[in-house]
């Protein structure tokens, strides 16, 4: 490959010919001090809060604190290139990131610069990072389901398009895994996915990107990375810039899913900035507006009204708790902002129940509105059944003799728990989920040994796909568990069970 120098020369010539020089008028200030990610600037008397400023090295900053005699600037880049006495100029615009189809499939930093070595981002449009969320009149209630492909989530805490569902749990309980499976399941649905990694180890982000590539999810996913070693200002703005990119699709009538992994680290980055800026610390040394920091972010996820195209942005924020402490400051804040939470518990995780969702305290405040009819019928009482099973199980561990009815409920409970286990990177379509859960809740698995349940499920679903495809098609067409479909599934189950041998 060689560059054609004549062509390039003509491009340059054209640029020079059309060059119009205007008097460059700029507002300037002087750097007084620089510290970890922030600078204090004297001057810039007309700068506005949130306005971009530029340092001589080309690094961009944001006016963060406007004080009587100085301006506090957060530095979005390498602050070591800035020194005392440097001239800072205000750019008169707000921070924006590239948006559009060009960002899909890319790995970007929070300013929209590529990190994947695949050249510049090809996009002509920009969108400001901080915008106010859509108002009441511009929205409609959440009604379409967003399938995560996880049986326990889709059956018990369904998520709708436009909902904010928090994933909360201790370290190493599979929070990211739930979010990644949800992204993988958006294949061929037209939902654009955004994964925002905040303050994470670069190695774990690399693993996530690798998994997304391997399962073909990078075709519709953008990863925004601000790792543990990036300066706090970039970690702080990363979720906002990811949301700006996702919002572009929402406002164009499309659907998007965004995962913030995780917001506790963003809160810590924001705390660092605020303390360096000498804003007064509050509870756990977080600044007073840390709630607003998260609420204005999550409020931007919404289901737009029909007049605005009916697009949606679904958010899956992740919060890491310490020793299961959900009543700490940041977890309670985000729980109260979101429309429900998926609570992952370490003891469930280590006893092999994965995803380790605690059905009792996980909720979705949107509920059945975000489920298709058939799923609503099949999984209606599942959450309560499982909760009462947990109670019964604790009681049965005392070793008392049980009457046959109680024993039968226990047995079904064990099978249900076994059925809700699911391996990573293996999301199930909602129709498969309906057929599995139907089999368990209607007692078709009661005579299958617990350890064979997952084998039974896999073979049964394969059988249905191979032999009873017409039933699945009917289910897909109606999205409802009509008498005809139900009879078909029952017949299929009876037929399959005749030939099924449990694993030894």
């Amino acid at each position: 490959m060689k560059f054609n120098s004549d062509e390039i020369a003509s491009v340059i010539q054209k640029e020079i010919e059309t060059f119009e020089s205007k008097m460059d008028v700029r507002e300037v200030g002087t750097v007084l001090e620089v510290s970890d990610g922030i600078a204090r600037v004297y001057g810039l008397s007309g700068v506005m809060s949130g306005e971009m400023v530029q340092f001589p090295s080309g690094v961009i900053g944001l006016a963060f604190n406007l004080e009587e005699n100085s301006v506090g600037v957060i530095i979005l880049g390498d602050y070591l290139t800035i020194s005392e006495g440097d001239e800072v100029k205000s750019l008169g615009k707000l921070l924006s990131v590239p948006v559009g189809d060009g960002v899909i499939g890319r790995v970007l930093d929070p300013l929209g610069n590529p990190l994947d070595g695949r050249g510049p981002v090809e996009s002509t449009e920009q969108r400001p990072v901080e915008v106010i969320a859509a108002g009441v009149a511009e929205r409609q209630p959440v009604h379409e389901p967003l399938q995560t492909g996880l049986k326990c989530v889709d059956a018990m805490t369904p998520i709708g398009r436009g909902q904010r569902e928090l994933i909360i749990g201790d370290r190493k309980t599979g929070k990211t895994a739930v979010a990644i499976d949800a992204i993988l399941n958006q294949k061929d649905t037209g939902v654009k996915c955004f994964y925002v990694a905040i303050g994470q180890k670069d190695s774990s982000v690399a693993l996530v990107i690798e998994a997304l590539r391997k399962y073909g999810a990078m075709d519709y996913t953008t990863v925004i990375v601000s790792g543990a070693s990036t300066p706090a200002p970039l970690q702080y703005i990363a979720p906002y810039s990811g949301t700006a990119m996702a919002e572009h699709f929402m406002f164009n009538g499309q659907h998007a899913l965004i995962v913030y992994d995780d917001l506790s680290k963003q809160a810590v980055a924001y705390r660092q900035l605020s303390l360096l800026m000498r804003r007064p610390p509050g509870r756990e040394a977080f600044p007073g507006d840390v709630f607003y920091c998260h609420s204005r972010l999550l409020e931007r996820s919404s289901k737009l009204s029909k007049e605005l195209g009916g697009g949606s942005l679904t958010a899956l924020p992740i919060i890491e708790t310490l020793e299961g402490e959900v009543s700490a400051y940041i977890p309670t804040n985000v729980i109260s902002i979101t429309d429900g939470q998926i609570y992952l518990q370490p003891d469930l995780f280590f006893s092999g129940i994965r995803p380790a969702m605690n059905a009792g305290i996980s909720v979705s405040r949107v509920g059945g509105a975000a489920q298709i009819k058939a799923m609503k019928k099949v999984a209606g009482g599942l959450r309560l059944d499982l909760a009462s099973f947990r109670e019964l199980e604790a009681f049965a561990q005392l070793g008392t003799d049980l009457d046959p009815a109680t024993q039968a409920r226990l047995d079904r409970g064990y099978r249900m728990v076994e059925l809700l286990k699911q391996s990573q990177y293996a999301p199930l379509s909602v129709y498969d989920q309906i057929m599995s859960i139907y089999a368990a809740t209607r007692g078709f698995m009661d005579d299958i040994p617990v350890k064979s349940v997952r084998d039974f499920e896999a073979k049964y679903l394969q059988f249905m796909r191979d032999r009873k495809n017409d039933i699945i098609t009917k289910l897909k067409d109606t999205n409802d568990l009509t008498a005809e479909v139900e009879a078909g599934i029952r017949a299929g189950l009876d037929e399959f069970k005749k030939g099924y041998k449990p694993v030894a």
């Binding site: 060059f19 008028v25 001057g43």
Partner: protein, 205 residues
């Protein structure tokens, strides 16, 4: 670093506020002799305080009795300064605000400029300006801002040509260097744009 010395304002917010308060009072009391008082105050700061930091420390020191300070002031400035200004400095010492003297001076001359409608402009040029250029700049500033400009000149050969004006926090860059940087930016972005739009034309196999 040269830039920084141009900001003479104290960055200590309290001190600046106190200074502004006293400066207003001083100008109010000065009446007809304002210009004289302001220039004498400037002389006190530049010729005494800047040259003898120990003096400033002595005025601010709580170890030295007020009577002693006043006697010292009389000995140093007696007869040389306007009576009013001397009294003013004594009042400052008595109130324990001697360390605000610089802030008072800066604000006083700023207030005086405002009263007279004067505009302080820092002019940077590649070569030393001649009188015709100076008056041209002044005339232009007079039409643009309606104020008489006080030019503070400096030269910077790196500008290559043209001038850069700085008024307060605003910089008006009319230098050749600035124009060349603008040109460089637009050529760069133009080439980038055409590389994106028709990449093939720029490549010869």
């Amino acid at each position: 670093m040269a830039e920084q010395t141009q900001h003479q304002t104290a960055l200590d917010g309290d001190e600046q506020q106190v200074g502004a308060l006293y400066a207003k009072a001083l100008l109010g009391a000065a009446g007809g002799k304002t210009d004289e008082i302001v220039s004498q105050l400037e002389a006190v700061v530049t010729e005494c305080l800047d040259r003898f930091p120990a003096l400033e420390q002595a005025f601010g020191s709580p170890n030295i009795a007020q009577e002693e300070k006043e006697a010292m002031l009389d000995r140093i400035f007696g007869g040389k300064l306007d009576r009013l200004l001397l009294n003013f400095i004594k009042v400052l010492c008595r109130r324990g605000r001697a360390e605000s003297l610089r802030a008072v001076q800066v604000t006083a001359s700023m207030l005086r400029d405002e009263q007279l409608g004067r505009l302080h402009v820092q002019v940077t040029s590649a070569l030393v300006l001649d009188d015709a250029q100076r008056s041209a700049i002044r005339a232009q500033l007079k039409t643009a801002f309606g104020k008489d400009a006080v030019l503070e000149e400096s030269t910077d050969a790196a500008l290559l040509g043209g001038i850069v004006l700085r008024i307060g926090d605003k910089v008006y860059d009319g230098s050749v260097l600035g124009k060349m940087q603008q040109l460089r930016q637009s050529v760069l972005s133009g080439v980038q744009r055409s590389m994106r739009s028709n990449f093939d034309a720029l490549i010869s196999s």
